[in-house]
């Protein structure tokens, strides 16, 4: 269902193996860690994925781990699991940018849905990064033209608006299509929308 790997950090061996087993049946690639510090050391070398962190662990909490990961650039979608249905911890988790907060034991439906959302967030993030990368290759004029195409304007309308000849606009459109690797107007619109420099 998703290509993004799931990284589970939980100090309980039984929980790790149960989640591995369950998610394995869904074809989700999962890697588990019992020691937060060990994971923190390895994280920079890992492929971006979804984080599932236990809140209560010795020495470091799931939230602290989340913050430290974000600090070293691994700001991946994070799901916090806890045995305590602790409102305060939940509040702080969301404030820290966690995508979901689940209370153990976690039903498979709930877990899988949360993972799907997290994956979508991760994909979205990747797409956004890709689009931004593509759009960044365009010239200033090409970005203007792309923006107008995205709004559904015709070549003639664009030419009038920019005081250009329709032929020049067509040349720009050809260049844009080549740089973005697509001729679809719908794709143009999508890239123009999500690839805009923030």
């Amino acid at each position: 269902m998703t290509s993004a790997p799931v990284y589970l950090v939980d100090d309980d061996e039984a929980v790790r193996s149960a989640f591995s087993l369950l998610l394995g049946t869904y074809g989700i690639s999962i890697e588990t860690f019992g020691d937060p510090a060990a994971f923190l050391a390895r994280a920079p070398k890992l492929k971006p994925g979804v984080l599932v962190l236990d809140l209560r662990m010795p020495a470091i909490t799931g939230l602290q781990l989340h913050e430290r990961l974000a600090a070293i650039g691994c700001d991946w979608p994070t799901i916090i699991c806890t045995g305590h249905g602790d409102v305060h911890a939940c509040r702080r988790a969301f404030k820290a940018g966690v995508v979901d907060f689940l209370t153990k034991p976690i039903d498979e439906q709930v877990l899988v849905e949360a993972l799907q959302q997290a994956c979508a967030a991760l994909d979205m993030r990747a797409e956004r990064a890709e689009a931004a990368h593509l759009v960044a290759q365009l010239t200033e004029r090409e970005r203007e033209v792309l923006d107008m195409v995205g709004r559904g304007w015709s070549t003639r309308e664009i030419a009038e608006s920019l005081h250009l000849s329709p032929r020049t606009v067509d040349t720009h459109r050809a260049n844009i299509a080549q740089k973005l690797g697509t001729t679809s107007v719908a794709e143009f619109a999508r890239l123009a929308l999500i690839g805009k420099a923030p």
Binding site: V15, L21, H88
Partner: protein, 539 residues
Amino acid sequence: MIAAPSFEPASPRMPRRLAFLRSSAALAGGWLLLVAAFGLYAAETHRRALEQEVSESGRALQRAISQRVAQHDAHLTSLSALGLAQAQPSADFDLVARSILRFYPRIVAIDLVRLGPGGGVVSSARAAGGTTADPAAVSAAVKNLAAGRAVYGADARPGHYRLMKRMNDTMAVSLDIDGRGLVEEDELPGWARLDLSSAEGPLLEIGARQAVPPFAARTVEFAAPIASETQPLRLSLHRTVTLSQLVPPLPLALFAALSLAALVLVRSLLAHRREAALARAAAEAASRREALRQHETKLAHALRVNSMGEMASGIAHELTQPLTALLSQSQAGRRIAATGGLAGSPVDEVLAANVLQAKRAADILVRLRAYVGKSAGEAGMHDLRTSVSDIAALSRIDLGRRGIALDLDLPEAPVAARVDPVEIEQVIHNLIRNAADAVEETGRGDGRVVVTLTRAAEGAVITVGDNGAGIPPDILPRLFEPFFSGKPEGMGLGLSLCESIVERFDGGISAENGPSGGALFTVRLPAAGAIDEAKEAVQ
């Protein structure tokens, strides 16, 4: 540093000036001094009054006597005029002399004397007690006088004197005066003794000489000359004053009695006040002890409730993990069974039952947590200094018994945080108790627990440090886990509870080994403003 409340009754206040009254000897001494002062004052006042009286009487007598002796001069003048007019004895002179004798009884004889050898008394008038002058003596007395001048002459008879006037070369007139008549009976106060004296010696003494009592204080005296050229007399008035006159015994006794009564009354009032102050101090100490005991009870109750909650919460946490594994594994099992075509088989049914039971157990845990969560106290704004010093006062009793010092370092300014004071006190209490246990384990004599409260940029920081052996590094990471204890008899809930409480107020707790080796626990609580911002952010 803020001193812990003292349980000694405060020393009752008593005016220092009056404190000496507590000693009976001092009371008696003070009383005697008071009576003596009164006696001296009374004596001085009476002495002045008596001196005044004596001197007033003396002046009145001086005036009266001066007038009377002046009359003698006047008589002499008129008699000598008569005598000159009639060189021979005449009926006129005798007539005048007799009328003078009649009207002035102190003049007892009047003689007209011819001077010189062969002279004699020309004319003589005498009243009772009067004697005729000796012409030779008169001649001698007036020998050196100019005409019209008079002279005083002493007389052998007590109280008598003569006043002689030279009329011309041959004649003189002489008055025989009984000095006792110079003072009228009612003019002399009963207490007085009067002396009149001339240059030749005492003339007379009126009034009895009083027998001087052995403790007579003194004699009050007035002395003044009589204003007369011819009769140079000197008046003196005496009064013997006894001690009882100077210091009247009845008022003195009355004063002594009253002042003694007043002193005794003041003393008993002071004693009463002192007792009342002592009783009040004792009552205050008792009420402080009672307040402390109630505080302790409240804390112990909160500890029990919280410990129960923490235990339930700990059990829930411990059960949650295997339950999570059970649920996930059963659900995985069902999916595996389904891929193997075993959906609906007895194995699948067993796994489905497992899923159901695991969820049921999870529901029970949810309800348990919800119940435990309810016991959380009400958070409000509190000055942490109060909590820290209250709990330090409470702990100091126990630590004192165990010979462990408890140092407290609080800031001058209030440190406000949104907490339930009882719960925060419980945290500090737990930490102090742990610290004391750690110190006691080392068996050192200079055991010391240091509690500090500081205000940092992000909120309040409470530290509890000790000079024990410190926390072994292998235990340090698991210190706050429920049911994990470093003590053989420990339940492993204390620090876990501390963490739960502190986190409930959005704070954090951490443990480390201090620079000097002992354990150092740090509790951080967010500043009141920071909590509100966080809440708004969540909403």
